[in-house]
Amino acid sequence: MITLNNITKSFDGTEVLKGISMAFEPGKTNLIIGQSGSGKTVLLKCLLGLHQIDSGKMHFNDQAFGEMDEEGRRTLRREMGMVFQGSALFDSMTVLENVMFPMQMLTDKNQAEIKSVAEAVIERVNLENANNKLPAELSGGMQKRVAIARAVVMKPKYLFCDEPNSGLDPKTAIVIDNLIREITQENNITTVINSHDMNSVMEIGDTILFLKDGVKAWEGSKDLIFNTDNEAVNDFVYSSNLMKKIKQVHT
């Protein structure tokens, strides 16, 4: 479980996160949604320790992130997996090498063992025929699946995904969303996903944090978000013509 208590973060005097408090539970897909510039990516980078928070507290289970030294943070990061928006695969390595990489760097397992674990994870994300391909030879959806495989190969306790289905067609996006949810539930991972895609909200939004201008404007689940009275949430959710049409049909 990850708990945030009154997190603030500023850049050059501009407050980007204004007192965010939230609990992200294990075994659930926790979504952070909001418009571009609302502070989603900054919050995710704070959770990863790539940005230092100005005030507030972050706990990963019982470990207070702010009180750890650099070594402690590196150790904690080994319990984290991250799926980047652009996949961030190592472009000089094949799919198999990308997935093997974290184990080669951080464990003492032998090469055969590492290879067999990596192949099993690649199979889990349905990419068994792409082992020897380079990232540049893969489609966007396949690259995302490799990124997911690399993120979960070390069996992380925490999985972070930044816009995991951006740039993907709706069908592939649903495949990626469902894959993340399945892996989250299978391994009881605390998964935090940044998204502004309403399809993802409908598919996998177990817990939703809605950010507006760096403030927590709403918190709930996919079942509640379509019936809330919160003006900011409604403005965001029903911004597209498709969602407006659905609302009209329902009312």
């Binding site: 590196r74 652009g86 961030a88 190592f90 080669q104």
Partner: protein, 233 residues
Amino acid sequence: MLRLVFIKPTKGKVMRKLIFKDIQDLIIGSLGIVAFLSFFVGGVVSIQTALNIESPLIPKSLVGFATRQSVILEFAPTFMSIILAGKVGSFITSSIGTMRVTEQIDALEVMGINSVNYLVFPKIISMLLLPIVINFSMFLGILGGYAATIYGGLSSSADFIEGIQLDFRPYHVVYAFIKTLVFAMVLATIPSYHGYYMKGGALEVGKAATVAFVWTSVVIIVLNYFITQLLLA
């Protein structure tokens, strides 16, 4: 950044692989251009020296002597390092910069890997082989001078060989290797710094490579002055 290069090292087996890859990319990959430039510049130095000797009182062996001195003292260590700042330096900046832009460095950090050590340390170690490249450059520079002198009919083989043996001081070679090692550090670290800390997108990668080349060249020229003052004056 230099402190981060040496703390929290990457696993030995992985690091060995990275070092061999960087030796291939940075050192072995540069031998072709070094050979080509050294041979022809050595030739040009000897032609110009020969054509400027008008007085019959000046011995023809001066062509070999001047070629040797120019190549060993300045051309091979200093100007070859500046040429490599363009080739090796821009390769380092653009490869690390591209990793920054595509979030690959963030990916390393999130995995708990010291990305500075992983990316920069193997480059520093492989650049320690630069004196071998410079040695190769010295040899081919003098060979180029010899070929241009003999085939251009500017002097005899005996005169040229007498010239390259004339007043030879091994300390000059030591001096050249000392400054080459200093330049190797500059060639590995300044481009790495500009690549690692760059911000922006693909366009900025190109800009960072240019800035890195300019700074690397400036630092090499300034250090060359001080090292020469210190070791030869």
